[in-house]
Amino acid sequence: MTDGVQPIPKEEREARVEKARKLMRENRIDAVLMEGGSSTFYFTGRRSAAAILLFPRGGPVWLADARETPKALKDGGVSTGQVGVEERVRFELVDAIARELPALEFVSADPVIAGCRMTKSPGEIALLQRANDITIACYRAALASLREGMTQQELSANIAAGYKLLGVEGDAMAIFGKYTAFPHGSIQPQKLREGDLVLIDDGCRVEGYQSDITRTVIFGKPTQRQRDIWELERKAQDAALAAAKPGATCESVDAAARKVITDAGFGPGYKLPGLPHRTGHGIGLDGHEWPYLVRGNKRPLEPGMCFSDEPTIAIHGEFGVRLEDCMYITETGARMFTKQSPAIDQPFG
């Protein structure tokens, strides 16, 4: 399913570096330090460098050996001032630089890096769309493989195999029965039984861009209780989607989903039974990235931002339900990449 995929063109990556430079000046950051990973891929198309430095002028500086970083900073004229550090850079590297250049101050590079990565271009949205389409196709096939006695590992393996056949890399977590109340599953061995809820979550990558979709579906016939909670979950997901408009704060989207769940007598807050985590996260080259739909985050939504919408309802000892689709913000509101699940026994719309 990867025919016609358009990788991010070189010009777009160069424009990203240009934007980073502008944000560096605005935030008085004299250099940005990254180690090989999603951020270096974003700016340069490569993940393999030991370290990359951005300066306010000139192209990115590549370092094959991280031990060259202090010298490269000095050569770039930065032996005092502020170095913005990408969030996942290891302590070891920062510490080695600090020992050689003790006058430097190390600050978070989030204003620069998240400032660039948080809003997606049409090309990025197209790649995310493809990753989402592939995940739905893969889940369709995998859920057709459900059978009595199946283990959670077998279902996970079927999903991973499906991704391979579709031409991408991806994986999934599978959770059955009462363990669906654990948002990220349990190590306890699980065998699928008639009447169990089945929860699958995670995604694949297309040109580095990630999908993240959760479906919760009944194996066999649902009880009324399962139906009721499933429908409440769907209402909570709908409420977050409706609240996600340009200018609305991130926390207001979380509050909208949470209100549906607390109004039904769950929670409040993160209390169980209820919604134990935030409603969603940003998504792009990382499966979870800024901005986060969480209480306390007053950042306003902007066109081009992409989020998961995934309130969970967890009821320990019984089951949990999570429906997760990702959405992107347009001038007029949020649009889902995928059709939401219409019913407990219909995972795909």
């Binding site: 550090v85 990408e86 969030e87 996942r88 850079v89 290891r90 302590f91 070891e92 920062v94 510490d95 190390f106 600050v107 978070s108 654990f182 948002p183 990220h184 599953g185 349990s186 190590i187 306890q188 807050g269 993160y270 134990p276 985590h277 935030r278 996260h281 979870h288 990235e289 969480v294 209480r295 306390g296 985050n297 967890a314 320990h316």
Partner: protein, 135 residues
């Protein structure tokens, strides 16, 4: 730690955490940390909604402190340090600790000096060159 002059060591999921506690956990943007003090019990800091899953892996009776999604995990790490009497001196960081975790702790416990725990972890038997996994 005594030999290396460290009052405590802060560790993220990876080879060191697994070697010292048996806990294998994937790294994500949500801080999950282990504080190993020179004196007193180990302390775990982890996301509230992961408590049940984490307790399947962490030895019963451990000091586990949870942060909710809108709360600071670094506050809890700083509090464990304080509770174990670490208010000055050197704190070792697992060399693979990510900047945002180090920066978060440092801001809340600025009176401590942060150094690499590599030598101490290595001599304790940890393979500090192995890669930490991701979720």
């Amino acid at each position: 730690m005594k030999e290396f002059g460290l009052e405590a060591v802060v560790i993220e999921p990876g080879p060191a955490m697994q070697y010292l506690t048996g806990v294998r956990w994937g790294r994500s943007e949500r801080t999950f940390a282990l504080v190993v003090p020179l004196k007193g019990d180990l302390g775990f800091v982890l996301p509230g909604f992961e408590e049940m899953r984490a307790k399947e892996l962490i030895q019963p009776g451990s000091d586990i402190r949870v942060w909710q999604e809108d709360e600071s995990p670094y506050q809890l790490i700083a509090k464990i340090l304080k509770d174990r009497g670490v208010s000055s001196g050197r704190v070792g960081m697992d060399p693979s600790v990510r900047f945002f975790v180090y920066d978060g702790v440092k801001k809340l416990a600025p009176g401590l000096s942060y150094v690499s725990a590599q030598a101490a972890l290595k001599s304790a038997g940890v393979d500090t060159t192995a890669q930490p996994g991701r979720r």
